[in-house]
């Protein structure tokens, strides 16, 4: 698979990191080539600036015998290089939409496209690999693995994406990259601490570093500030904005905090199972 090949390239240690908030991404050029290739393969995406698209997606949950519809035909697209916020009340299906975009779940109908390719009908193995290579995810409750140290948590996706042998071959590069990422999120002094020894803001920073270790194209954030106080939440948001500005990382964020949502490039609201654009 060419994904593992490109992964190898990605794990090369960065020769120089100009500022703690800057990650040099030589693979962006590669991405451009890929984009061209994708457009030739899929004529629908010609001229499409969206990295991830949901078309007429429906999803319902089964609560014992009754079927609860959550999404009733949602059309969504996130523009490349922008921060898109999805707001809505609790239970409005924000997280569900995010999970669908992140291939953690399959829609009942409609389709999800990533870079012009359908992801909702891929076999499980490919979806796993896709998640591992192309997506980064952060959650409200950070979801770090409590048995692993900060550094191990950060390199976990890289370990998952590779076999034991290729991991050991690229170990140095991976650890180097993980260290530069923790350095970027400002936690290089906490490398060998367990998550239970970190504060909420620190855990979320770790989660961000973890999400970025495989150099994904898209960061999905599920209420990243929901469990943090105002100040930490703001600094997390600032970190994401810096990332977006410096590396062009596309971010889709679910939040119920209007204040945070207003700082994003694009804003949509989920209401009654449908989406309305606000900004």
């Amino acid at each position: 698979m060419n994904s593992s090949k490109s992964a190898n390239q990605q794990y090369k240690p960065q020769a120089s990191i100009p500022s703690p908030y800057r990650v040099v991404r030589p693979e962006l050029e590669l991405e451009a080539i890929e984009k061209v290739l994708a457009t030739t393969r899929n004529p629908e995406s010609i001229g499409n600036k969206s990295i991830v698209v949901a078309r007429d997606v429906t999803k319902s949950y089964r609560r014992s015998k009754t079927i609860v519809p959550v999404l009733k035909g949602v059309d969504f697209s996130a523009e490349r290089g922008k921060i898109t916020a999805i707001i809505g009340q609790s239970g409005s299906g924000k997280s569900t939409l995010l999970h669908l975009l992140g291939t953690l779940d399959r829609p009942d109908s409609g389709e999800i496209l990533f870079d012009g390719q359908r992801t909702d009908n891929l076999p499980a193995r490919k979806r796993d690999a896709f998640r591992n290579q192309q997506l980064g995810m952060i959650f409200q409750f950070y979801h770090l693995l409590p048995e692993l140290t900060l550094l191990e948590n950060v390199i976990a996706p890289a370990m998952i994406g590779q076999s034991i042998f290729s991991y050991f071959r690229n170990r140095k590069a991976i650890i180097e990259r993980a260290k530069s990422l923790t350095d970027m999120v400002g936690l290089s002094h906490r490398l060998h601490h367990k998550p239970c020894e970190l504060s909420g803001g620190e855990m979320q920073r770790t989660a961000i570093a973890r999400a970025l270790v495989t150099s994904p194209k898209l960061l999905l954030a599920d209420e990243p500030t929901g469990n943090l106080d105002q100040e930490s939440g703001q600094s997390i948001l600032q970190l994401m904005r810096d990332l977006n500005r410096d590396t062009g990382l596309t971010i889709v964020m679910v939040t119920h905090d209007e204040n945070i949502a207003q700082q994003c490039d694009a804003l949509v609201r989920l209401k009654g199972g449908r989406l309305e654009a606000l900004k």
Partner: protein, 553 residues
């Protein structure tokens, strides 16, 4: 890689899971201990069973035997000669043995075996079970001065020492008897003279004639003392030590007097169980009590070789005991020189001077196949032609060996069930751990870990736990086997009950044998059970839906 890391971290942080594999450890340890003790017992038993039996026995069905043993021996050598290490001929027959203990005669049944002492040692371990050190190197059926198993106090004195002591006592008794007789005679003389004085001459004539009669026959001590005492000595000796039977014919020429203090009769080697009893004294110590010792004479009655057979008596001097520690043998087998037995039974052909034998015993070379050799001989002597049957020692002891084997197998099955129960413990624990780790499973999946990867974390965890458990079990089991006698002693002290009764078993320590193969298959089996127990929880973990798992709080 994350699988190994997480397995290892789970193991390090969840010691409670180790509790679930303690039962695996115990099961494995028990299996190893039981197997090595059973193997130890079996091998000891086989050694003992085999001890005085040769590998192969060519047996006649009757007690009169085959009259041309050399022809058979030649045919055996011709057929399986290159795997034969030694051949000997024996005469086996049932017999009754009579001995005297504390003045009373006792008769018991024995199996009398006539052996060629020069070649018998080459077919079995017989000589190493003898008590006297000289007999261990070469049995000669001669009574030794002393030195029979000096470490056994109960057996001392034995040999000529014992025999001479018995004779000494007999002589003292005879002297006492003599004195008493003289005293009696003096009294009679005095009474007579008194009577004659009282009654006068007429009356005194008759007692005088009586006295004359007495003098003629036996009374006068001065003239006929020595034949008189000899006759007395014989009755007394018969009363005291020997059973009441006709004196032996073979050892003494007719008319010559047998001097028990200087001569011995034909030697006989008895099983230690025939001549002794093992029990406990009031203090609870295990003691042997010998009612026959080397140096005593016994009488053996056995059928002769005529048709119909008649019982004949023969006197033997016990020259040694053997102790094979196989009670069945030790309580019944008695060995005598084959020529003496053939002579007494009339088994020697008057023309050719060749003695008939009842069986031919063969020892095979090391590594020779017992069953192949047996089948070859069975083929050589088919029942249609010969009146012999060929058996290996395993055939004769087959049922017992099979029973022990069966016991071992059943115990193994039962103990493996214990490990299987432990497997269910692991299953339950693992389900708990999977539930506890639901959120982590969701996180791993959201990071792109495939279901198989998640499953292998828990499978690997199971393998790790199983290996740890069975490894610890192997160590514990080996330690237990290594120190089993000390542990038995501690248990005895603790419970006050004897774990290992030396009056029942003839060994003073618990025999153990460790087969590396057993340890390997036991530990592999335990690990497989642990893996099987972790399969279900792993599948559950792998199938877990990431969204559901992440929602789990």
């Amino acid at each position: 890689m994350y699988k190994l890391l997480l397995c290892w971290r789970y193991l390090k942080t969840r010691w409670i899971a180790l509790a679930s594999i303690v039962s695996v450890t115990l099961g494995v340890a028990t299996l190893i201990v039981v197997n090595s003790v059973m193997d130890g017992f079996t091998s000891q038993m086989q050694d003992r069973m085999h001890g005085i039996l040769s590998d192969l026995v060519v047996d006649t069905r009757g007690t009169n035997g085959i009259s041309e043993p050399n022809w058979y021996v030649e045919r055996i050598r011709a057929r399986i000669g290159n795997s034969v290490e030694g051949i000997t001929t024996v005469v086996t027959l049932p017999a009754m043995m009579t001995f005297t203990h504390n003045g009373a005669s006792h008769t018991q049944q024995i199996n009398l075996i006539g052996i060629d002492q020069k070649t018998y040692a080459s077919v079995s371990d017989f000589s190493k079970y003898l008590l006297h050190p000289d007999n261990k190197s070469q049995l000669d059926f001669r009574l030794k001065q002393s030195g029979y198993a000096p470490e056994r106090e109960a057996l001392q004195p034995s040999g000529w020492e014992h025999r001479n002591r018995v004779e000494q006592v007999k002589k003292e008794r005879l002297t006492q008897l003599e004195q008493y007789r003289r005293l009696q005679e003096q009294i009679t003389e005095e009474q007579r003279s008194q009577l004659s004085n009282q009654l006068g001459q007429n009356v005194s004539k008759e007692p005088a004639s009586e006295t004359a009669n007495d003098n003629n026959s036996s009374v006068s001590p001065q003239t006929t003392a020595s034949p008189q005492t000899t006759a007395d000595a014989q009755t007394l000796s018969a009363m005291m030590s020997g059973p009441s039977f006709q004196p032996s014919h073979s050892n003494e020429e007719r008319g010559r007097v047998f001097d028990a203090s200087k001569e011995q009769r034909t030697g006989i080697v008895l099983g230690i169980g025939i001549g002794s009893v093992r029990g406990r004294d009031t203090a609870g110590q295990v003691k042997d009590y010998f009612f026959i010792r080397p140096g005593d004479d016994v009488s053996v009655a056995f059928p002769n070789a005529g048709t119909p057979p008649r019982a004949i008596d023969e006197m033997f001097t016990v020259v040694d005991f053997y102790e094979s520690k196989m009670s069945e043998y030790d309580a019944t087998f008695a060995f005598v020189p084959i020529e003496a037995l053939q002579q007494a039974r009339g088994m020697i052909d008057p023309m050719s001077k060749v003695g008939a034998v009842t069986s031919i015993q063969i020892k095979l070379k090391k590594g020779a196949d017992l069953n192949v050799a047996r089948n070859a001989l069975r083929d050589e002597f088919p029942p249609t032609e010969s009146y012999v049957q060929v058996n290996s020692w395993r055939d004769t002891q087959g049922p017992l060996l099979a029973a022990v084997q069966m016991e071992t197998t059943i115990l193994n099955v039962l103990l493996f069930m214990i490990i299987a129960v432990a497997g269910f413990g692991i299953l339950a624990t693992f389900f708990m751990i999977v539930v506890e780790k639901t959120r982590d499973i969701g996180v791993l999946k959201s990071l792109g870990a495939p279901g198989t990867g998640i499953a292998s974390i828990f499978l690997g965890y199971g393998v790790l736990l199983g290996s740890l458990g069975s490894g610890a079990g192997v160590v514990c089991g080996l330690l237990f086997v290594w120190k089993i006698n000390q542990i038995a002693r501690v248990l005895e002290w603790f419970t006050g009950r004897e774990v290992f009764d030396p009056t029942v078993y003839y060994f003073d320590s618990i025999p153990t044998i460790i087969h590396p193969f057993t340890i390997v298959w036991v530990s592999i089996g335990a690990v497989i059970i642990a893996i099987m127990a972790s399969v279900l929880p792993s599948i559950r973990a792998a199938r877990m839906h990431p969204v559901e798992a992440l929602r789990y709080e």
